[in-house]
């Protein structure tokens, strides 16, 4: 029996109708996937996944196997009309499903890596009251498309850390669709060092009262590298909370993109959302496209959003140099300081240190 036959057929039709996005598609204006892929196109290969040391208490199912358990059938392919997500569903029978059962607090990190070219699906289910830290690894490849679904039950808590390494040639896209029940919490941090085209797209549905999503991200981009984080945050019900903080540093001909749409649905009264995206450009040819957006249909909501693009503060730079810190080091220090509040949001201390170390290395090159 193949999983979700009807939904795969729908996905196939959707992808056939829309095709690989070009920059003429509004959502893909700053990330021309079709031209980044060139002749090769998106292919129909199945990409690989790998879980290192599955923590005790986490259940794993290989999606290419027969007889999926009930929790997979219930949660798989529930996603929306996202075109690349549809492509991964249409083109790949491979992938992984993971479940943390009710009330289980998993202390060990769950390390999930995606490698190789092609399309792959992933499903992560945290049942009510469960908690987990997911560390997602992004292997380099000429092209990969990951369709990820995350379902958080009542009061479940997921920390998600994803680091996308630097590469001039890789084209890496991922769509994560996250659903949160009442009182669930999703914290995610996306560090990106950019590739030919790199896009992390998130659709987050706050479906239960008091559900919370906190997103943060940093990118350090050089050369011709590109990094795009596109988010769609849906406050579907009352008293939901979301925060987003994205910081980018771009030099050379690099391009940083943040598109974030927050929707507060009718009746989602008392919701609170905060969105901030900032970029520092280190050269004339570097580019940042920051587009926070709000759509409010409810009453009594608190929504703030802001975006700012600038360059390094000359007064600060002079102050540090006047105290003996050489220019390149002073620039590095200021860039790191600029990124720090976003990095500080990574709850897991080891992961936070890892991201910091990688940022410092990247900043040394770019400063």
């Amino acid at each position: 029996m193949t999983l979700a036959v009807a939904r795969r057929a729908e996905a196939t039709a959707l992808f056939a109708a829309q095709g690989v996005p070009t920059r003429r598609v509004e959502d893909w204006k700053y990330s021309d996937l079709k031209s980044a892929l060139g002749e090769a196109g998106i292919g129909a290969q199945v990409a690989q996944w790998h879980v290192t040391d599955l923590p005790a208490g986490v259940e794993q199912f290989d999606l290419s196997q027969a007889n999926p358990p009930g929790w997979v059938i219930d949660n798989f392919a529930r996603g929306t009309g996202n075109v690349m997500s549809a492509a991964s569903l249409a083109l790949s029978v491979g992938g992984v499903a993971l479940r943390v059962p009710k009330g289980a607090a998993i202390a060990d990190l769950l390390k999930l890596d995606f490698t190789g070219p092609g399309h792959v699906r992933a499903l992560l289910v945290l049942e009510a009251g469960a908690s987990l830290t997911l560390v997602e690894g992004v292997g380099l490849s000429e092209f990969r498309n990951v369709g990820f679904e995350i379902a958080l039950g009542e009061g479940a808590a997921l920390d998600h850390v994803r680091v996308s390494p630097a590469d001039a040639d890789a084209v890496l896209v991922e769509e994560a669709h996250v659903r949160l029940a009442a009182g669930a919490q999703y914290r995610a941090h996306f560090a990106s060092f950019g590739s030919r085209l790199s896009r992390m797209e998130l659709e987050i549905a706050l479906e239960g009262a008091k559900a919370q999503a906190h997103l943060s991200g940093v990118s350090v981009l050089d050369g011709k590298r590109h990094s795009d984080v596109t988010t769609r945050m849906i406050h579907a019900v009352e008293d939901t909370l979301s925060t987003q903080l994205f910081k980018h540093v771009a030099g050379g001909n690099a391009k940083a993109v943040y598109q974030g749409k927050v929707t507060v649905a009718k009746g989602a009264n008392g919701s609170d959302s905060n969105q901030s995206a900032k970029a520092l450009l280190l050269g004339e040819a570097a580019e940042a496209d920051l587009k926070p957006e709000l759509e409010i249909f409810a009453d009594d909501v608190k929504c703030a959003h802001g975006a700012a693009v600038g360059d390094l503060d000359a007064d600060s730079l002079f102050y540090l140099r006047a105290r003996g810190i050489p220019e390149a080091e002073a620039r590095g220090l200021l860039l790191h300081a600029f990124l720090e509040d976003a990095v500080a949001q990574i709850a897991n201390m080891d992961q936070r240190e890892l991201v910091r170390t990688e940022l410092l290395t990247a900043l040394k090159v770019i400063a």
Binding site: A314, R321, A322, R323, P326
Partner: protein, 249 residues
Amino acid sequence: MLEIKNLHVSVGDKPILKGLTLSIQPGQVHAIMGPNGSGKSTLSYVLAGRAGYDITEGSITYNGEDLTALPPEERAAKGVFLAMQYPVEIPGVTTMTFLKTALNSQRRTRGESDLDAIGVLKLVRAKAKTLNVSEEMLKRALNVGFSGGEKKRLEILQMALFEPRLAILDETDSGLDIDALKLVAEGVNLLRSPERAMLVITHYQRLLDYIVPDRIHVLAKGRIVAEGGKELALELEAKGYEHILKDVA
């Protein structure tokens, strides 16, 4: 130690210093007073090497070397220190990290070895205590949320830590309460030595009661228009700048 000759400086196209001449010997403390906007901070920035200040004429020699040829960080390593009138707030960099980085950067530029983290910590703590800079302030982001007086005390803490050969204090006394003023003056007096020189910019005679200068210069309209001993400060306090400026064409 410091020889400034016929210095002309413009910001953009605007001439600000117009033929300033000043000479400071090792061991001396000089004070500069002068009306708002006369060019005192401009002089201090030019000495520290800030970009955007064009020297159109004249020279600055420091220990026999052309100071203007050096980037700010090398001036610092060679012992030039400017306590700024408006210290900059830098979110995301803790004060302690900054102090450690600055101290070791200067040492490295001079070809000395780094001090280890514990060594720096001990040194900073010892100096911080005498200047009433709390442990909590050292943990906070540099100057962020510091009161005016706290910022000034941190400038003096840096001076004590870096032990410069030429210290320039740009209105370090402004905004200080009496106790803080005494602390700052003590910090300065502790550093006074036959090898060091200081240039103290101030609006108030009061500071000069505590830091007694060898010479006072009055800067107005980009030039030194009067000079004298410490009694000049008393005269200015009593009569203001009007009567001096009247004599200057």
